[in-house]
Amino acid sequence: MAMAASEVERLIRAAIPDAEVTIRDLAGDGDHYAARVVSKSFAGLSRIQQHQAVYAALGGRVGGELHALQLETAVRLTETSHG
C-alpha cells in the first residue's frame, strides 16, 4: 500500500508541530520515501529517540503501509531559520 507524500508530512507535523519536513519520493511509487525532519524538540534526544519520535508520529505505518522511509533527523538550533 502506498501513501501520499503530503500525508506523511501532515502526520509528522501533527505530532511535531515545529518540524521542518522535506520529503523525496525515491522510487516514484508512493511507497519509498526519504524524509528529513528538523525540530527543536529533538534537542537532548539520541538519534534513536529522534527517529522513534518520527516513527511514533506515523503511528505504526512505517514497516507496514509505508515500506520504506529513509530517515534523517536533526535538531534545529535557532528559533528562526531565516537570519
Binding site: I48, Q52, Y55, G60, V62, G63, L69, Q70, E72
Partner: protein, 109 residues
C-alpha cells in the same frame, strides 16, 4: 517454544556485533540490509547476521524488542545502535568505526 524475546536477548548478548537483516550477508534481500552490510564490510567489522526472513518470530519480535519498526537493525555489545540510516550517519561521522573498535565489557574485565 522459547519466548522470542529470550531468543533475541540471547543472540544480542552472545555476539559483539550482530545485524538483524533480510537475507544473508552474501545475498541481502532488501536495499537497506544491503547498505548495512556494505557499511560493516567497509569498516572491516567481524559481525554475525540473523536472517529475519527465516524466522517469523524474530522478524516480529525484534521490532518490539528494539521499539523499532524496520529491518535491518544493528546491535553492538548488547546495545541497539539503529537502522541503516543511523548506521550511514555514524559511518560518515566516524562514530561507527569508534564504536566497533571499542573493547567489549568482557574484554576489559
Amino acid at each position: 517454544m522459547a519466548d522470542p524475546k529470550e531468543k533475541i536477548a540471547e543472540i544480542v548478548d552472545s555476539n559483539d556485533i550482530v545485524l538483524f537483516m533480510k537475507g544473508t550477508a552474501l545475498f541481502p534481500q532488501c536495499g537497506f540490509s544491503s547498505r548495512a552490510i556494505a557499511i560493516l564490510d567497509r569498516l572491516g567489522a567481524k559481525y554475525e547476521t540473523v536472517d529475519v526472513l527465516q524466522d517469523p518470530e524474530i522478524r516480529t519480535g525484534i521490532k518490539a524488542y528494539s521499539d523499532w519498526p524496520t529491518i535491518p537493525q544493528l546491535y553492538v555489545k548488547g546495545e541497539f545502535v539503529g537502522g541503516s540510516d543511523i548506521m550511514m550517519e555514524m559511518f560518515e561521522s566516524g562514530e561507527l568505526q569508534e564504536l566497533l573498535k571499542a573493547p567489549s565489557p568482557t574484554d576489559r574485565a
